[in-house]
């Protein structure tokens, strides 16, 4: 058994074991009777959501909201983070504010977004954006502040412009920590978008979950939760693959 397959087998075994415990609880009818459906029922509902195509528009809506919010947050977060990391004074002024705000649940802003941007996509994008912004900006700040000053001196000594210094020194030397921030930010963007959908919306994964809940269509609700989980997991997996490729360029 080699180093790759062994952890994988253990992971698969853990999942299988959890499913068996789940199924045992359902079958025994001792706990949560009627609100925990059998895995087979969930699978059936999930298959129905996929085969009828019902899930896809909602999947797209959620991805759209999360990705747009994330992209805006990434551009702003990286630029601001590096600026704060480079300028000790700016950092001293703004970093505490950012840290306080980062610790606040972003959902408290949702009513404001709803009023300003309406109940459609835009308010969820805003939720996704503010949620993604903080992990990205914090990681970029720390990364830029930790850059070895000698690299900046080298760039200066050959007459590099500030823009060149940003793109050729700051970006590559902070690539990995910034990317870590982006990974966390991507996760946060989905949390933000779906949280918004759960509250007020008419489309998206959060919407169909809460709809199924309201109409007590329990297997359907679990199926949507499961598919949401798979979406989040695959996005994170894709970013893990990307960061493995980036590692070659960073250090």
């Amino acid at each position: 058994m080699n180093r790759v397959t062994k952890p994988f087998l253990i992971q698969a075994g853990t999942v299988l074991l959890c499913m068996m415990i789940w199924e045992a609880i359902v079958e025994s009818r001792l706990l949560f009777e009627g609100i925990v459906p059998s895995i087979f029922e969930i699978m059936k509902a999930a298959w129905l959501q996929i085969s009828t195509g019902f899930i896809f528009p909602h999947l797209l809506v959620t991805m759209y909201e999360a990705f747009v919010g994330f992209a805006l947050a990434a551009c702003l977060g990286i630029a601001i983070g590096i600026a704060l990391g480079v300028e000790p004074f700016l950092r001293r002024v703004f970093e505490p504010l950012i840290l306080y705000f980062a610790a606040t649940p972003k959902i408290i802003l949702y009513p404001i977004f709803l009023m300003m941007l309406g109940a459609k996509f835009e308010s969820k994008m805003a939720m996704a954006g503010v949620s993604a912004f903080f992990p990205i900006v914090i990681n970029a700040t720390v990364a830029a502040a930790g850059i070895d000053r000698i690299f900046i001196k080298v760039a200066k000594s050959v007459g590099a412009s500030s823009f060149q210094t940003f793109t050729r020194v700051y970006l590559p030397s902070t690539l990995l920590p910034v990317f870590t921030g982006m990974r966390l930010g991507m996760g946060a963007a989905f949390v933000g978008a779906i949280l918004g959908e759960l509250k007020v919306s008419n489309a998206g994964l959060g919407f169909i979950i809460i709809q199924a809940f309201n109409h007590f269509r329990i297997p359907e609700m679990y199926a949507s939760i499961l598919l949401t989980f798979f979406l989040a997991a695959s996005v994170n997996f894709a970013m893990t693959l990307m960061s493995a490729r980036l590692r070659r360029f960073a250090y």
């Binding site: 001196k153 200066k156 050959v158 030397s173 250090y251």
Partner: protein, 261 residues
């Protein structure tokens, strides 16, 4: 040569860090094509002085002139090789050496050509596409030297560039440096803690006192050029090394006590 206007002049340079005077009123003239070494005990302000000349560090007082013009910032005719490891870990050997040319908008083809030639000069053939993580300490330092040399700066500041190298490589690269200097007519200001190296390479050796760094003495090395490393065998060579050590001994002891405190 000494009568012509100096290409580089520093006048009354002082640098104070909070609580420490690193440099105290240093003045120095360096003429075109000259090779001047600065030697002094550890912590006497050599790196500080070089970074001030390069325009990378603010001075407390004094002035730097290049070809008669006072300069306050970095300057296109100055190149610098730093004492500490400074090559970019995210760039290959070739990409590191190309960095400065790239910043100046030199075409890719020309960059490649110049950098490849530099790679041969510093003896890194076969390592063009390696990343710094795969190079030895001495190889990394040679990349840094190549990165500065490829820009062909009129004035090259070198801060213990061979410090991380073994003695043999150090002597050979020193010889190579003199050859390049001859070829492109560079002026070099060279910091070292190696007396032999200072004598092998320099026209003049400037001895700096323990902190606060002041100029203690300037020794002329009257060994004719072009020189090879064979000068090491000359009787004159040994005498100069001895003379410099006598000047340096006292300062080194003082410097050592400062750091021991």
């Amino acid at each position: 040569m000494k009568d012509s206007a100096p290409i580089l002049e520093i006048r009354n340079i002082s640098k104070e860090y909070p609580g420490v005077t690193a440099i105290d009123n240093v003045s120095l003239k360096v003429h075109q094509h000259e090779f001047v070494s600065i030697i002094g005990p550890s912590g006497c302000g050599k790196s500080t002085l070089l970074e001030i000349i390069a325009g990378l560090l603010a001075k407390t007082s004094g002035e730097v002139f290049i070809k008669g013009h006072a300069v306050k910032n970095t300057h296109a005719s100055i190149g610098i090789v730093f004492q500490q490891e400074s090559i970019f870990p995210w760039r290959s050997t070739l990409e590191n050496i190309e960095f400065g040319l790239e910043m100046h908008g030199v075409s890719k083809q020309e960059r490649r050509n110049k950098s490849r030639r530099m790679i041969e000069i510093v003896g890194l053939q076969g390592f063009e596409d390696r990343y710094p993580g795969e190079l030895s300490g001495g190889m990394k330092q040679r990349v840094a030297i190549a990165r500065a040399l490829v820009m062909e700066p009129e004035i090259l500041l070198m801060d213990e560039p061979f410090g991380a190298l073994d003695e043999q490589t150090r002597i050979i690269l020193g010889e190579e440096l003199l050859r390049i200097q001859q070829e492109i007519g560079q002026t070099i200001l060279f910091v070292t803690h190696n007396i032999h190296e200072a004598v092998q390479l320099s026209d003049r050796v400037v001895v700096i006192t323990a902190r606060p760094g002041k100029i203690k003495a300037t020794i002329s090395v009257d060994i004719e050029r072009p020189r090879t490393s064979e000068v090491i065998a000359l009787e004159k060579f040994g005498k100069l090394v001895g003379k410099i050590w006598m000047l340096l001994r006292e300062e080194s002891l003082k410097g050592f006590k400062q750091t021991a405190l």
